[in-house]
């Protein structure tokens, strides 16, 4: 990273008309040096418009912590198309329309469109009541249908094939009089991938806002009844126990136990190579076979868990890249040998959750309030399994398969010479991939080579160079005028962005990073700053993890670290949930901890107050 652009300090000397610090306006952002042509990577509709200077935008580093490769902008375009459709047009949330996004210097900024006119809110509320009411009342039945549909989508995306385009087409085209040659299916199947991705996101957001809505209402009730209750205490009353996202980690623990039981545990050593271990297991007789077949069973579907959050093509799944699971296995194996590997204490977690809920209930002033509390908490517990489990099906399982299919289309483009390598497909926007595939379809039909190499290869090379340059740019945490009040609890919950976060962004204190105290306790230790999930193997025992945002597949490292700090995240974020389970301090939603803390610095994490201090 460019040392001149490290730290938030250099982005905030701007002064507002009132004399206080302010965020830059979108129009004031200069092009990152060496990447002046970044606009050529992204569609025109992602660019800031002149009127956008009048609105408040914040950097969505929770979902998009890195500069966007051109193809990966689909993980902003499609989700925002789906979530806005569901909130604004399908369920007709009374006070909010959708989310707008813009890209500047490769980073995604977002803003929400509120509805403020009381008449319009009233008109929308009537529709919302009927539609949302229908979903809440039939939640479990609709959920069962949802799960079937989403599994259907996963089956479909998994089964999509890329035509081989051999010299002669299959004889069956003739004998079955199909009448359609396989170059047709290049485009059709590619479009199916894009269309399925869009369908998946529509289903993803079909239940999500309703699920969060139930949580927000309970959250606000608790804050009103107990003005000083911490966000995490509310979260702990609702949190699911049998959450599917813990399953991949549970599977690894099971495999570690089996390794010891089957007498093949000697193969799992620190730094072991996954292919070498798998090859050696095949030579280890019955024990080795038993482990390998258990591994196969765990693999599908549980290894379809991304090392990221499903928003970047290079966040590979465990199934694609065994580095993460094989980095965790030696530690688990050692714990099994020492008799130290414990299952998640689900019973005591459940008992503690119920104790907290009933303690707060007992403190309520009247039976009336207790009855309302029971209803709201009850609804949360009905909807929350969806909120917690959808990620595995959508962002992990489906999306891992989606990126694998796109990579296979990339391989076709590489085979036909348009691209140098399959991975380069992710440097093209999906509409550009469409053009490149047309070139290949035409060339196969014409019996001539495609002409795309001269067109696309320089573009790909230039974009890779620009992405590197964009990595050195420090995105301001927010742009535009600070709103009067930013009390939207949904934004707080999802992104950890509150009035306090914005204050901290505007006035960073020396040697101190402030965020949301998400899990209590105070510890000191050396920091390990990860800006990219692929660095996960660098984490050492006793370190304090500092990261942009943690993904569920990071669970294995939580056994190693003393505390977790993240740039983005609220009290319901993954880092917060897992840290509470491990009983370690966590501070989330700091805005810029990864920029202001360096690996090796000694830091003190105060999970009660939400403060991280650099000590040395």
């Amino acid at each position: 990273m460019d040392p001149n652009s490290a730290g938030l300090g250099e982005t905030t000397p701007l002064v507002s008309p009132e004399g206080g610090p302010r965020f830059p306006l979108p129009s004031e952002i200069a092009d990152a040096p060496g990447a002046e042509d970044w606009r050529s990577m992204y569609p025109y509709f992602t660019r800031f418009q002149p009127d956008d200077d009048k609105r408040f935008w914040f950097y969505n580093s929770m979902h998009f912590p890195e500069p966007m490769p051109a193809f990966d902008t689909i993980t902003a375009e499609v989700p925002y198309s789906a979530i806005g459709a569901n909130t604004a047009r399908v369920f007709v949330f009374p006070t909010t329309l959708g989310i707008e996004h813009r890209i500047v210097n490769g980073r995604v900024y977002i803003t929400a469109n509120p509805v403020t006119d009381p008449d319009e809110i009233g008109r929308r509320a009537a529709v919302f009541g009927e539609r949302a009411g229908y979903y809440y009342e039939n939640w479990d039945t609709l959920q069962a249908g949802w799960k079937m549909r989403i599994k259907g989508l996963i089956d479909e995306i998994t089964s999509i094939t890329v035509p081989e385009l051999p010299e002669f087409d299959d004889a069956a085209v003739v004998t079955e009089s199909r009448g359609v040659a396989q170059n047709h299916y290049v485009r059709e199947n590619f479009h199916r991938c894009i269309d399925l991705f869009s369908r998946m996101w529509h289903h993803h957001t079909e239940f999500l806002m309703l699920g969060y809505g139930a949580y927000v209402v309970f959250f606000q009730f608790c804050k009103q009844a107990f003005p000083e209750i911490s966000d995490q205490a509310v979260a702990r009353m609702v949190a699911g126990i049998d959450v599917i996202m813990y399953r991949p980690d549970d599977e690894l623990r099971g495999l570690a136990r089996l390794a010891v039981e089957a007498g093949v545990d000697d193969l799992f050593t620190e730094g072991c190579s996954p292919p070498a271990v798998l090859a050696a297991l095949a030579e280890r007789g019955e024990g080795g076979q038993r482990w390998l077949s258990a591994f196969e069973r765990a693999h599908d579907p549980w290894f379809n868990v991304s090392t990221g959050d499903g928003f970047y093509h290079h966040h590979r799944s465990w199934a694609d890249d065994l580095t993460v699971p094989f980095a965790a296995l030696p530690r688990y194996v050692a714990q099994v040998r020492d008799g130290l590997l414990a299952d998640r204490p689900t019973e005591s977690l459940r008992a503690e959750r119920d104790r907290i809920a009933s303690s707060y209930r007992d403190l309520l002033g009247s039976d009336e309030e207790k009855a309302a509390f029971d209803q709201m908490l009850g609804l949360c517990r009905v909807v929350f399994p969806y909120v917690e489990d959808h990620k595995f099906y959508c962002e992990h399982w489906f999306t891992s398969q989606f990126f694998s299919r796109i990579r296979e289309f990339g391989a076709l483009l590489a085979r036909s010479g348009v691209l140098a390598e399959a991975e380069d497909v992710f440097q093209l926007h999906h509409t550009e991939v469409d053009q490149a595939l047309s070139d290949v379809m035409l060339a196969w039909a014409a019996g001539a080579p495609p002409v795309g190499a001269a067109h696309f290869r320089p573009i790909v090379a230039e974009r890779k160079r620009m992405l590197e340059a964009l990595r050195g740019w420090s995105p301001p945490p927010a742009l535009g005028p600070v709103p009067e009040a930013l009390n939207d609890p949904a934004v707080h919950m999802l992104w950890g962005v509150t009035q306090q976060t914005i204050e901290a962004w505007l006035r960073p204190a020396e040697g101190e990073v402030r965020g949301v105290g998400a899990s209590s306790g105070v510890v000191e230790g050396p920091a390990r700053v990860l800006t990219d999930v692929n660095q996960i193997g660098e984490v050492r025992d006793g370190e304090i993890l500092v990261c942009p945002v943690t993904a569920p597949s990071w669970a294995p490292v939580f056994g190693k670290i003393k505390a977790a700090v993240s740039d983005i995240g609220g009290s319901m974020s993954h880092a917060a949930i897992v840290a509470r389970e491990y009983g370690m301090p966590a501070v989330v939603g700091t805005g810029d901890a990864t920029k202001r803390i360096s690996t090796g610095q000694r830091v003190r994490v105060d999970g009660d107050r939400g403060i991280v201090q650099v000590i040395a």
């Binding site: 949330f93 009374p94 006070t95 909010t96 403020t116 809110i121 009233g122 509320a125 919302f128 009541g129 949302a132 009411g133 809440y136 009342e137 309703l210 809505g213 139930a214 927000v216 209402v217 606000q220 009730f221 009103q224 009844a225 107990f226 003005p227 000083e228 209750i229 911490s230 995490q232 205490a233 702990r236 907290i356 303690s359 707060y360 403190l363 002033g365 009247s366 009336e368 309030e369 009855a371 309302a372 509390f373 029971d374 209803q375 709201m376 009850g378 609804l379 009390n487 939207d488 609890p489 949904a490 209590s520 105070v522 009660d608 107050r609």
Partner: protein, 347 residues
């Protein structure tokens, strides 16, 4: 030792406010509940009433106070000043003094705290906080006997009478007990509310404290350290370290306490560790559970690490208890109606 005019604090309980005064009754109640309270004895209201028989035999002076208007401060000052002078000037009934001297001896020959315990104070309706006098680091039986009369006289402090007139509390049957305890030399001391004094939140304990005697905090001479602890999770959810510029202390041989500048090293240092904060909050909950209502508690921490907490007083919290708020939510026909209504109202 129950005698006509004195008894141990452990010999009274919540029901004995008429005999011992509110503070003594509360201390006895805490001790009976097994909570840590310094030992001490009570000079009962019978002693006060006997003394007043000599000062104001027909009760005319006291009765006259009950006819004054609450805002007639000049009239109150005139009437009360005369009565106080007579309470202090009148010799202690010999039978009372004869009981106090051996009780003092039983406490030991160190300095003592002599604290007012009026029959009306610390009730659930009104705290009467700080209106009657307390004397710290009182040395020698003669000084104690003086301070007992001073405590009695403080029932007729101008502000005390004005407060009673505002509250519409009659002067009939009003009496004052006195608690005498060995003087404590705490490491830290302060107050604790078993609900938030700021928001009324019943799920937290709010603690304030400073180094040394709690009188510096109660008297408003320091900006105390403050802590908020969740009753449910035990988490310390709020913490502010005050800049504590002064400290109250006493010398073993001197009379009374002195206020001196706080040692530099202690000014910005929290007067309680996190473990101590949590232990104190647990103690607060025990008191609240015993009474079944939020409490306003005075505490002190004795000895070096790990230290030992003692409670100096507990009274019902009166401010938030009086603010009867309506329910913030009512059950709906369907649970989802809560969500529909909330989202239709705006965020």
């Amino acid at each position: 030792m129950t005698q006509p005019f004195t008894c141990w604090t452990t010999e009274v309980g919540a029901a004995d406010a008429a005999r011992a005064g509110g503070k003594a009754a509360a201390l006895g109640e805490l001790a009976r509940a097994g909570l840590p309270v310094p030992r001490g004895f009570v000079i009962t209201t019978a002693a006060f009433l006997l003394h007043m028989d000599g000062v104001d035999p027909d009760g005319a002076a006291r009765g006259a106070l009950g006819t004054l208007a609450a805002d007639d401060l000049a009239g109150i000052a005139r009437a009360a000043g005369g009565l106080r002078a007579r309470v202090v000037g009148q010799a202690l009934p010999p039978e009372v003094a004869a009981e106090i001297a051996p009780a003092c001896a039983a406490l030991g020959d160190g300095p003592a705290a002599v604290r007012s315990s009026a029959t009306l104070e610390d009730s659930a309706e009104a705290s009467f906080a700080g209106l009657q006098d307390t004397y710290l680091a009182v040395r020698g039986t003669d000084a104690v006997l003086d301070r007992v009369r001073a405590c009695w006289a403080s029932l007729y402090n101008d502000e005390s009478i004005a407060y009673r007139r505002r509250q519409g509390t009659g002067e009939d049957g009003l009496a004052m007990g006195v608690v005498v305890q060995p003087m404590l030399n705490p490491r830290s001391a302060g107050v604790m509310f078993t609900r938030s004094p700021v928001t009324g939140d019943r799920s937290v304990v709010a603690i304030e404290g400073t180094w040394g005697l709690g009188s510096a905090l109660v008297g408003g001479e320091v900006t105390p350290d403050s802590f908020t602890v969740s009753k449910v999770t035990g988490e310390i959810t709020g913490r502010r370290v005050g800049v504590k510029l002064r400290v109250h202390s006493f010398t073993p041989n001197g009379q009374g306490i002195s206020a001196t500048p706080m040692a530099l090293a202690l000014r910005r240092t929290p007067c309680l560790t996190d473990d101590e904060v949590r232990a104190l909050a647990r103690l607060g909950r025990q008191v609240e559970d015993h009474y079944g209502a939020p409490q306003d508690i005075e505490w002190a921490l004795l000895g070096d690490s790990p230290g030992r907490f003692v409670l100096l007083q507990s009274r019902p919290e009166t401010v938030w208890a009086a603010r009867d708020r309506g329910p913030i939510a009512s059950p709906q026909a369907k649970a989802s109606d809560h969500v529909l209504a909330r989202f239709s109202r705006g965020l």
